[in-house]
């Protein structure tokens, strides 16, 4: 017990090692794997990311030019980021906040591009 005394005294005066989490959040580490976002302006809907995704969290419809992403299936492995040659799939260090439902995220090609194609 005496051996623990310096630690005990140190702990009495030092800051707590824990944080009151939802009220005070820690800054995310720069290289943390937080979540995946898609910069849809870059996307050519090639479907390479969907093919390699281990969790099948991405669906790409080439004809509709639509990408559906299920963030709650995603394991944030980063394979899509490595696969995408257009720099569309990106990883940011901020986590997805908890949710009651598991919504899908729809990414569609910008409208003006679509109109151009139809002409």
């Amino acid at each position: 017990m005496p051996k623990m005394l310096p630690t005990v005294l140190g702990n009495l005066v030092s800051k707590p090692a824990t944080r009151p989490h939802p009220y005070r959040r820690r800054e995310a580490f720069a290289r943390a794997r937080g979540r995946i976002i898609f910069d849809v302006k870059q996307c050519v809907f090639c479907g390479a990311c969907a093919l390699r995704c281990p969790a099948s969290a991405i669906r790409v419809d080439r004809n509709e030019r639509e990408l559906v992403f299920e963030p709650f299936r995603c394991i944030i492995c980063g394979v899509c980021v490595e696969t995408c040659r257009r720099g569309c799939a990106q990883m940011i260090p901020h986590y997805h906040s908890p949710a009651y439902t598991k919504p899908e995220e729809y990414y569609r090609a910008p409208v003006e591009v679509k109109e151009e194609n139809q002409l």
Binding site: M1, K3, F29, R33, P54
Partner: protein, 359 residues
């Protein structure tokens, strides 16, 4: 006359948060026969591994264990690399060692905390886990996640370390080592710790060898066997020596793990200092064909991967043998004769990881 009671220990138990059931026959306070019941968390990962493309399996096998995921990824990658006949670049080998050893460090610290918790030494538990948190932060800063770090890939690693990260890592490890040194006298010499662990659950070296025990449990029984001695990845170049204790009881197992924490810090330091320059990934080509067995040292002991490829992108078979499965028979020999109150400590002393065991 002694009263016989059959007591189910688990699958949900406050001391052992892992779903294994031990059916324990008690005679008064003494343990008689012990029967294990496994199968509460079987997830069919081996079968799932046959349906996935082989590069994607890395992410699957990492999810076998919730603590030593890097070691599982490493073992699988080594096996597939052997089938493909590719060699990862030297820098990748060193980085693999760094991350695998950091996982061992946090796993042993976690175990030490749980041990202290099992006999009610809450303040030691919290001190140790505070040190562990530094290791977790280092993992998150460098690999992106705390536990499932997905750094291994077929042919190398997926993330590199920058100079700043290396110096930050070295700095954190130094701090970690300092704080652990401060705790060491309590961990090893405290009356409570000794009273609850010394002489409990003794396993002799003959028993250990007969039962095929692995890992720190084996080394605490005086057998110098550690697969890192085989020198896979970069271990061959780091001058690794196994840590052995003679006691064979819970205390010896605790000492082995405590000493391994310091050894691990030293290994990471050496690996970072000798880190060669160059690429981190050799692109895999073709599909695996043939059979390969790879054995690596996970924090809990020998981890074996047997992989059969048939020339397609799917594997024919993936078989995993995890350390806890090898250590459960030892547990069944340690428990009989012990006292009721020692069940948690003895059970914890093999560092059971049931989600590994059942896959």
């Amino acid at each position: 006359m002694a009263v016989k009671t059959i007591l189910p220990f688990g699958p949900q138990h406050p001391v052992l948060p892992e779903p294994i059931q031990l059916r324990i026959t008690l005679e008064d306070e003494n343990i008689g026969q012990v029967l294990p019941a496994l199968g509460y968390v079987h997830r069919g990962i081996e079968k799932a591994g046959e349906n996935n493309d082989y590069p994607l399996n890395v992410f699957l096998v990492e999810r076998i264990c919730g603590i030593c995921s890097a070691t599982h990824g490493l073992a699988y990658c080594l096996a597939v690399e052997r089938l493909l006949g590719i060699e990862p670049p030297p820098r990748a080998n060193y980085l693999r060692v760094v991350w695998a050893e950091l996982h061992r460090l946090h796993s042993h610290l976690l175990w030490w905390g749980l041990l202290a918790d099992a006999f009610g030494f809450e303040s030691l538990f919290m001190q140790i886990w505070r040190v562990r948190e530094m290791v977790m932060d280092v993992l998150e800063k460098t690999a992106g996640n705390r536990v499932i770090i997905s750094v291994n890939a077929i042919g190398g690693v997926r993330r590199d370390l920058s100079e700043e990260q290396i110096s930050e890592m070295l700095h954190t490890l130094e701090e970690c080592e300092k704080q652990l040194y401060a705790l060491l006298p309590v961990m090893l010499n405290d009356y409570t710790v000794k009273k609850r662990t010394a002489g409990k659950g003794v396993l002799t070296s003959e028993q250990a060898l007969r039962l095929g025990v692995v890992g720190p449990t084996l080394r605490a029984s005086g057998v110098a066997q550690d697969l890192r001695m085989t020198g896979y990845a970069a271990y061959g170049e780091l001058g690794f020596e196994p840590i052995v204790e003679q006691g064979g009881d819970c205390y010896a197992r605790a000492v082995v793990r405590a000493r391994e924490c310091f050894q691990t810090i030293e290994l990471v330091r050496r690996a970072l200092q000798q880190l060669p320059d160059g690429d981190i990934l050799t692109k895999p080509r073709g599909n695996p064909n043939g059979k390969a067995i790879v054995r690596v040292e996970a924090p809990r002991g020998e981890l074996m991967y047997f992989v059969v490829g048939n020339g397609t992108k799917n594997l024919e078979r993936m078989r995993v043998r995890t350390p806890t499965l090898a250590n459960v028979p030892a547990l069944l020999e340690m428990l009989p004769g012990a006292e009721f109150a020692d069940i948690p400590v003895i059970t914890l002393s093999i560092d059971p990881c049931i989600s590994c065991t059942e896959r």
